[in-house]
Amino acid sequence: MSAELLATLSIFLLALLVGFEVIGKVPATLHTPLMSATNAIHGVILVGAMLVASVAETATDYVLGFVVAAFATMNVVGGYVVTDRMLGMFQSPASQR
């Protein structure tokens, strides 16, 4: 196993642990926005999509690049917008009555 892979593996494991720690504290009230926000975060695959499209040379590559870019952008944009829309509905008691 190369040093790079080992380093990436460490990052992965630590991020997983940070995730458990941070997300475990989110109250049940916010679980739907949480899921939708994490959904948007995994749209970061857009970065991967850009890297794939950047080395495209054949027609198949281009089709692949188009589909990946469309999927990933829909994931990012839709995910964040809908999360923001939902969170805007959560009102504090002060803003009511």
């Binding site: 049940a28 970065v47 690049g65 870019a69 999927f71 969170l87």
Partner: protein, 466 residues
């Protein structure tokens, strides 16, 4: 490492930090929106850094840029449109759909790494895993979204030999994946792997019933996260690894919470066949025990003279679009001093926390929403518990062994001084068993559609307290 490379990597690190801090801010409703926006900033940073990297390397052809721009344009329009128009009741479908495209994108990113049959094992292993997990998630999420939307039957779809088919598909996936990892097959093996994994995703989700959807959505969310992390290994990109791990952790936590809330093990859920479909109500009846039907006026008197009312909403409330009618009743009650809170079971909706969003949409402040334990403490002190559209999660049978819901954590509605249940008929919930709460002497059944029943209650309470 060149200066630009260093800057880009630092930008990725900053983006990952934004994601973590953004999620941290989601631990309270007051800061959650800020958290999401911080997360957006991180995303913009990551994308901008990648853009700079691509421009600098100059490897991208003009056609490549056009393809990228066209794809991003289509995705943006589709995403914006979906996010704006979808009603809150359909949120689980939308989240599933975004899950599907995310998983699909993650799988496709790995394809170019495997098609020329070369490269190190340290790339081929995560690439194969990425394609398998991403593709299974893509197909599974689409089926789940279809079930939630009612396009695909919500009931468990099982046929003789389904397990054998599933097993065969899993085997085919494993063989094709193994060949790819050993460096054989190239494009053909990738195609076999993709088709087998697509079919496997469908076969996994089809037999799972509507009642188990909160678990399935959470699990698929975790899978997409894992697929994205694998894509990070493939492209040696730290921000993908970190983001993927965060999503994986979040999905895993929610999966465990949902499974616990239903007292069902994950393997049992995945094997499927449990429960019925959407809004199914088996032949009614409560084993012959009498139920006490009450009129809206009688129920209104109980509510008007109660000091503490705990509302127990279930998905039936949302299905009847009655959230606003419920909030109106609560406002009338609160205006003359009755304390109203909402007891929300973890699986009250179709995804984790769904009921909270539906109530928030109807302007219910989050400070009035109670989670299971707090709700049960309040229920035992409540003068009246008002159950609207919830069934199995209120069934005292869960405390006894030997039935379909034994051991499931429930809301202790039967411990309130009096109970009013708004329900259309004596139909069963998902579990298909009788609810002893309905035959409890202190329970009054108000047989009505949720929205009409709540409106009648509001009107009656208004005339009582003038």
């Amino acid at each position: 490492m060149s200066t630009l490379d260093t800057v880009v990597r630092l930008a990725y690190l900053a983006a990952a930090t934004c994601f973590v801090l953004g999620l941290h801010l989601m631990n309270a409703p007051a800061t959650a929106r800020r958290g999401n926006r911080l997360s957006i900033a991180g995303m913009l940073l990551a994308v901008a850094a990648t853009f700079v990297l691509l421009v600098d390397s100059g490897a991208t052809t003009p056609a490549g840029w056009m393809v990228l721009a066209a794809g991003a344009g289509v995705g943006t329009v589709a995403g914006l449109w979906a996010a704006r128009v979808v009603p809150m009741t359909a949120m689980p479908q939308l989240v599933s759909l975004f899950n599907a495209v995310g998983g699909g994108a993650a799988a496709l990113v790995a394809v170019p790494e495997l098609v020329p049959a070369a490269g190190a094992a340290s790339v081929r292993v995560p690439a194969a895993l990425d394609i398998v997990i991403g593709t299974v998630t893509f197909a599974g999420s689409l089926v789940a979204a279809g079930k939630l939307q009612g396009v695909v039957p919500g009931r468990p779809v099982v046929f003789p030999g389904a397990r054998v088919v599933g097993g065969g598909l899993a085997l085919a996936t494993a063989i094709a994946g193994g060949l790819l990892i050993r460096g054989y097959g190239g494009g053909a093996a990738v195609a076999v792997l993709a088709v087998a994994a697509l079919a496997l995703g469908v076969a996994l989700v089809l037999p799972i019933g509507g009642a188990d959807m909160p678990v399935v959505i959470s699990l698929l969310n975790a899978c997409t996260g894992t697929a994205v992390a694998m894509a990070g290994f493939v492209t040696d990109n730290s921000v993908l690894v970190v983001a993927g791990a965060l999503v994986g952790a979040s999905g895993a936590i929610l999966t465990a919470l949902m499974a616990t809330a239903m007292n069902r093990s994950l393997p049992a859920i995945l094997l499927g066949g449990y429960g019925t479909g959407d809004g199914a109500s088996g032949p009614g009846g409560t084993g012959g025990a009498p139920v006490r039907a009450v009129s809206a006026d009688d129920a209104a008197i109980q509510l008007a003279y109660a000091r503490r009312v705990v509302v127990v909403p279930g998905y039936g409330l949302a299905a009847a679009q009655a959230q606003h009618a419920l909030h109106e009743l609560a406002t009338v009650l609160a205006s003359h001093g009755t304390e109203v809170t909402y007891a929300i079971h973890p699986v009250a909706g179709r995804m984790p926390g769904h009921m909270n969003v539906l109530l928030a949409e109807a302007n219910v402040p989050y400070s009035e929403m109670r989670e299971l334990d707090a709700a049960n403490a309040e229920l035992s002190l409540a003068d009246v518990a008002l159950v609207v559209g919830a069934n199995d999660v209120t069934n005292p049978a869960a405390r006894r062994p030997g039935n379909a819901i034994s051991g499931m954590p429930i809301l202790d509605v039967d411990r309130a001084a009096a109970v009013i249940v708004i329900k259309r008929s004596m139909g069963h919930g998902y579990a298909g068993i009788d609810n002893a709460l309905y035959t409890d002497p202190k329970t009054g059944m108000l047989f009505a559609d949720a929205r009409a029943g709540l409106a009648a209650l509001s009107a009656a309470v208004k005339t009582l307290v003038g």
